[in-house]
């Protein structure tokens, strides 16, 4: 079972070396214990571009798809047998990066 752990942030991102080190430790643990699938940090929403090709022409707009105080700062995709394991890992990840994390299962295929 795969889960998406979305890192939710509500401030202008600042690179904190302590947080980065904690995230590295957490990532190593995910790999060592077989939970790791993929992870990535995202550039700020001010660098987002939305494209909507549903009309006659693809419309390109500057900015994120929704304006809100909170935004997606990064994510993990993990492998876990059930939600309890995923929530535990999400808690550790959230502590490491000191942000809120949303846990969502991928649709089973």
């Amino acid at each position: 079972m795969q889960y998406l752990l979305s890192v939710i942030h509500d401030q202008a991102s600042i690179d904190d070396p302590d947080e980065q080190a904690a995230i590295d430790v957490f990532n190593d643990r995910l790999r060592a214990q077989g939970h790791w699938v993929f992870a990535g940090g995202l550039s700020g929403p001010e660098n987002a571009t939305v494209i909507d090709p549903r009309g006659a022409e693809a419309v390109v707009t500057d900015g994120p798809f929704l304006e809100s105080k909170e935004y997606l700062a990064g994510f993990w995709i993990i492998e876990a047998p059930d939600l309890d394991v995923a929530l535990k890992l999400a808690t550790e990840g959230a502590r490491a990066c000191n942000r809120k994390v949303e846990v969502r299962p991928f649709v089973a295929v």
Binding site: P81, L83, D84, A86
Partner: protein
């Protein structure tokens, strides 16, 4: 065998075996929908068969076997439609074996699944009542004053989330238990309260099936966590309230308040068990373990059930316990109950002033108006008391309570 005997046998089997059948099927097939529907089908079949063939000697085994067969039938039907989904279900159900715990009880697993913190509180409550308590969706809908379709959707959504997010069917690991148990206790107390003071005008005023279920489940959890003070506290609290049930509703279906209850009708065995638990927690508190809200509420009920007569009640002790409770839980409903003790210790005027301060928070709560009505009566404000009774009657859903409040109002003359 008469139709009445068959009906009674089915009702009893439903109370005693529903959760066991659902829980067993959930473990076997790993799917709440299949478990619930197969259990419901098995009971429906029992209604048909037992009145023709007679009640089988072992009703539990009959129901389990029948439900099992219904579940397999259903999976076969569905497998023709969707082979892949069936496989996914079976794999999830077979899942990794959990290490054998202190107690291997399918029902306990079912409770922890239904009370998982990833579900909204209303969903936990509804699921527990449906899956563990065996209430029908219309019954649960009435209990929560929402429409049947809204309640059906709530339960369906919760079950869908359990499936999609792989909420596991297991008793949590030892280190996670204390945190998870708090949520379970809250749900059990809500179930108990719904049984003790049924909120619907269409049901019995006291639903013994629900109170008994909540107590039974609390006992199970106590076996699993004998050192958890709040588990002991909640069990003691429910036992001491349940003990008064036989004296609480009159033959004419009217609520009998504590002061007027026939204390000889109280259940001495339940009281003894409750008092034993409270003493155990008092010893722990003396050793420096701070009691939580259920333990304090149990202690309050221990004081009430220790008095041979309402006049023997140690109200200053009750008030001291409420003062302690307010520090743990400063909610307006606790403050309201505290005011009842204040009336006995400091007089109804002081209590009325305290109750009036809660008006904003509790304006829609029948007990606020009922308490106020009693205090207004005692302070000689007949006209205002009548208005408060009117409002309390309007808001109360419980038939015994409505009958009592109506009589009290009409006594005002």
């Amino acid at each position: 065998m008469s139709g009445f005997d068959v009906r009674e046998a089915i009702t009893r089997a439903h109370h005693e075996e529903w959760a066991r059948v659902v829980a067993l099927l959930t473990r076997r097939f790993g799917d709440l929908d299949i478990a619930e529907e197969a259990a419901a089908e098995a009971f429906a079949t029992a209604v048909e068969r037992w009145s023709v063939d007679g009640v089988p000697p072992n009703t539990a085994a009959w129901l389990t076997t029948t439900a099992n067969r219904k579940a397999i039938d259903r999976i076969r039907r569905e497998s023709k439609r969707d082979e892949k989904q069936r496989e996914a279900r079976m794999v999830h159900g077979a899942g990794p074996r959990e290490p054998p715990g202190a107690i291997d009880d399918d029902r306990l697993r079912l409770i922890f699944t239904c009370c998982h913190p990833a579900l909204a509180v209303e969903s936990r409550l509804a699921l527990t009542l449906r899956m563990v308590g065996g209430l029908t969706v219309p019954e649960i809908a009435r209990a929560f004053l929402v429409t049947e379709s809204a309640m059906g959707q709530r339960i369906t959504r919760a079950k869908a989330k359990i499936k999609a997010a792989h909420i596991p069917y297991r008793v949590p690991a030892t280190e996670d238990l204390p945190a998870r148990v708090t949520g379970v206790l809250a749900v059990l107390f809500l179930v108990f309260n719904e049984g003790y003071l049924a909120t619907s005008p269409d049901t019995d005023p006291v639903r013994h099936d629900l109170t008994a279920e909540a107590i039974r489940l609390a006992r199970l959890i106590r076996d699993l966590l004998p050192d958890d003070g709040e588990v002991a506290g909640l069990l003691a609290l429910m036992l001491l309230i349940e003990a008064r049930r036989p004296a609480r509703v009159s033959a004419s279906g009217e609520l009998v308040p504590l002061a007027e209850q026939d204390r000889g009708a109280w259940d001495a065995t339940l009281i003894a068990e409750g008092h034993r638990l409270v003493r155990e927690r008092l010893a722990a508190a003396a050793a420096g373990v701070a009691p939580g809200r259920y333990q304090i509420l149990a202690a309050i009920n221990a004081v009430h059930t220790s008095a041979r007569d309402i006049r023997d009640t140690d109200w200053s002790q009750v008030l001291a316990l409420y003062d302690q409770l307010v520090r743990v839980d400063p909610s307006p409903t606790i403050a309201l109950n505290r005011a009842i003790a204040v009336a006995e210790v400091d007089g109804p005027d002081v209590a009325l002033a305290a109750v009036d301060r809660l008006g904003n928070a509790l304006a829609g709560y029948h007990a606020y108006h009922a308490t106020r009505a009693e205090l207004l009566r005692r302070t000689g404000h007949g006209r205002q008391a009548r208005a408060a009774y009117d409002r309390a009657i309007e808001l109360a859903g419980n038939t015994a309570e409505t009958a009592y409040l109506t009589r009290r109002r009409d006594q005002l003359g």
